[in-house]
């Protein structure tokens, strides 16, 4: 077991901690007395004003005494690097489900476009088709996909972050509709990614698109999977609440899902920054792939941090 005695960093804090139990007992006594008085006041039919006043006193005391006080308020940094990834690791099954619901349709979409290239004109947006057509020509001239003048890069970055967060949030919120909307978001995004890639490969420009996607793609896709996983957590509470009442299960799962969304937002912010500043720039492909590899390493570290945190606070983390 972890824990043990924490080193005393602050003597004043320690003194306060020692005082707290005494004050607490006094508070409990007062609270119990006033609560009993409230019950009596109701029985006696005391004026409404008095009852409302007592209710306020009792609920204020109730708030002070019985609020969730699991641990000290953690710093934002600790949430970012420990709580959020821990929630992701804890929900690996849900994230895996989201991953499969994205990649399988993506593979199918890819296969479809590769097998029947003429389908592209019907199902894909014309902008994309024309982009793919120009891709080979662009590649020859050394211009990247969605490559933009340098001034516009920050705008693109922030627009992309906003857009992706929107998609991720919808994947999460879709959990409230028993996961149907989550699945829909994942499948549709998977299919369009697969088809897009198929299209570019058809035009012999697969590597060209891959260069663009490489820098940010890992983080972005992981974030979408996590958001989908968070949605499935909510859906799980609604569909199979187990021993709990649905409403209680939903609240419990919602708490974990909220932390997963924290991970989603931090990953997407990073991905969007890379996407806007690097992927859309004319940086050499080698650099883009290097960044891609770096993001994978970063992601691994991130999840590892969550894993160690999880195993420390809970000896048997596999029973999520």
């Amino acid at each position: 077991m972890g824990g043990g005695v924490a080193p005393v960093e602050d003597v004043a804090q320690l003194r306060e901690d020692l005082q707290a139990p005494i004050q607490f007992v006094v508070q409990v006594q007062i609270e119990e007395r006033v609560a009993a008085d409230l019950a009596r006041a109701r029985t006696y039919g005391v004026e409404r004003q008095v009852i409302e006043y007592l209710e306020r006193v009792v609920s204020a005391g109730h708030n002070a005494l019985y609020r969730a006080r699991g641990r000290r308020r953690a710093s934002l940094a600790r949430y970012l690097v420990q709580d959020f990834p821990a929630a992701v690791v804890q929900s690996w099954r849900h994230v895996l489900a989201a991953f499969l619901l994205f990649t399988v349709p993506a593979a199918v979409g890819y296969g479809l476009i590769r097998g029947r290239p003429e389908l592209a004109d019907d199902v894909l947006p014309p902008v994309m088709v024309s982009r793919a057509e120009q891709a080979a020509e662009h590649e020859a001239r050394g211009i990247g996909y969605a490559q933009s003048p340098n001034e516009e890069l920050p705008v693109i970055a922030s627009a992309i972050i906003s857009n992706n967060i929107g998609v991720a949030f919808w994947a999460f919120v879709g959990g409230m509709l028993a996961g149907t909307l989550t699945a829909l978001v994942l499948v549709s995004n998977g299919v369009s990614l697969g088809m897009g890639f198929g299209l570019f490969v058809n035009y012999h420009a697969g590597a060209y698109l891959a260069t663009f996607v490489a820098g940010h793609g890992v983080l972005e896709l992981t974030a979408i999977f996590i958001a989908g996983g968070a949605g499935f957590r909510l859906a799980g509470a609604l569909v199979a609440p187990g021993d709990l009442a649905r409403r209680d299960a939903l609240v419990l799962e919602g708490r974990i899902a909220a932390r997963m969304i924290g991970a989603v937002v931090s990953l997407l912010a990073l991905a969007g920054t890379i996407e806007g500043l690097l992927s859309a720039s004319d940086a050499p492909a080698a650099l883009k792939y290097a960044v891609s590899a770096a993001t994978v390493a970063l992601l691994a570290l991130y999840l590892r941090s969550g894993w160690t945190y999880l195993t420390r606070i809970k000896p048997a983390p596999s029973r999520a």
Partner: protein, 291 residues
């Protein structure tokens, strides 16, 4: 005669209540906010968000007018997009988490978000309920409908976001905090000894006298005689007139019941403060003020 119910049924209420039982087994009653006030609060908040977003757009436009240079302009625009986005998603969650469950709109309408257990809303819950706002208020093709329908139909007026976060929206009742401090003068009853009648008998007498005027005269006389005969064994009768006897008896009994020997609970008429209640409040005022 049937014993009257101990707790008279309260008059049917249009207000919706949520009872939260404390560990002391006392219910704290919260008044739930209805569709109307919640929609109005949302309207106020939406207007604020909208105004800020428009302001941000103007700021971006101004940056263009000042010819700050294309590179810088790009950054300004990027900042505007991010801020708008943050405003859109963060406004509700941030205010609810940091301002005791109240956005400015809720503050104007006098409502606030609390946990189902009556506790202050947690940051996590504020985040969850406002993420799910996407479903409640921005559902494609049917914006606002899911949220409104849920609030309207749900027993605790919870929209999807409230369900996921475990929160309810309640009305902030203005409370007279001075109540605990100001003592009121309660007339000191004379010491007259314990009451002679049982509670049921006293209630019977009380009700009879209250309705005596409306009764058929013959019936009234018969009942008065009967009641008087019933009580005269214990309380000596000094007049021949049954009515006069009963009236004096009632007055005396009432006085006795005000004295400190009367410890039994009287069920007062709903809304009227009973003698016991008065004494109870008077005695307890100081203790409550401390709490």
């Amino acid at each position: 005669m049937n014993a009257p119910a101990r707790d008279p049924a309260p008059p049917s209420e249009l207000r919706q209540q949520l009872d939260i039982e404390t560990p002391e087994h006392v219910a704290v009653r919260l008044e739930l906010a209805g569709v109307g006030s919640r929609a109005a609060a949302a309207l106020v908040d939406t207007m604020i968000v909208f105004t800020v977003l428009v302001g941000l757009q103007f700021a971006a436009g101004a940056a263009g007018l000042w010819h700050v240079g294309a590179a810088l302009e790009g950054w300004v625009l990027a900042l505007v997009i991010l801020l708008s986005f943050l405003m859109f998603f963060g406004y509700f969650a941030a205010f609810e988490a940091l301002n005791g469950g109240r956005t400015p709109g809720k503050q104007v309408l006098g409502i606030r978000v609390v946990m189902e257990t009556g506790h202050a809303v947690t940051p996590t819950a504020a985040t969850v309920r406002n993420l799910v706002r996407l479903l409640d208020c921005y559902f494609p093709l049917l914006p606002l409908l899911p949220g409104l329908v849920m609030i309207f139909l749900h027993r605790r007026n919870q929209r999807f976001g409230d369900l996921a976060a475990g929160t309810v929206v309640v009305r902030d009742r203005p409370v007279d905090w001075a109540l605990g401090l100001a003592p009121v003068a309660v007339e000191e009853p004379l010491e007259t000894g314990p009451p002679d009648l049982t509670d049921d008998e006293f209630r019977l007498l009380d009700q009879f006298l209250a309705r005596a005027g409306q009764l058929d005269p013959a019936l009234q006389v018969r009942m008065a005689t009967e009641l008087a005969r019933r009580f005269q064994d214990r309380i000596p009768r000094r007049t021949v007139d049954a009515d006069a006897y009963l009236i004096t008896l009632h007055a005396e009994e009432q006085r006795k019941r005000r004295s400190r020997f009367a410890t039994r609970v009287q069920t007062g008429a709903a809304g009227r403060t009973t003698v016991t209640a008065e004494r109870f409040v008077a005695g307890k005022r100081d203790a409550w003020a401390v709490a």
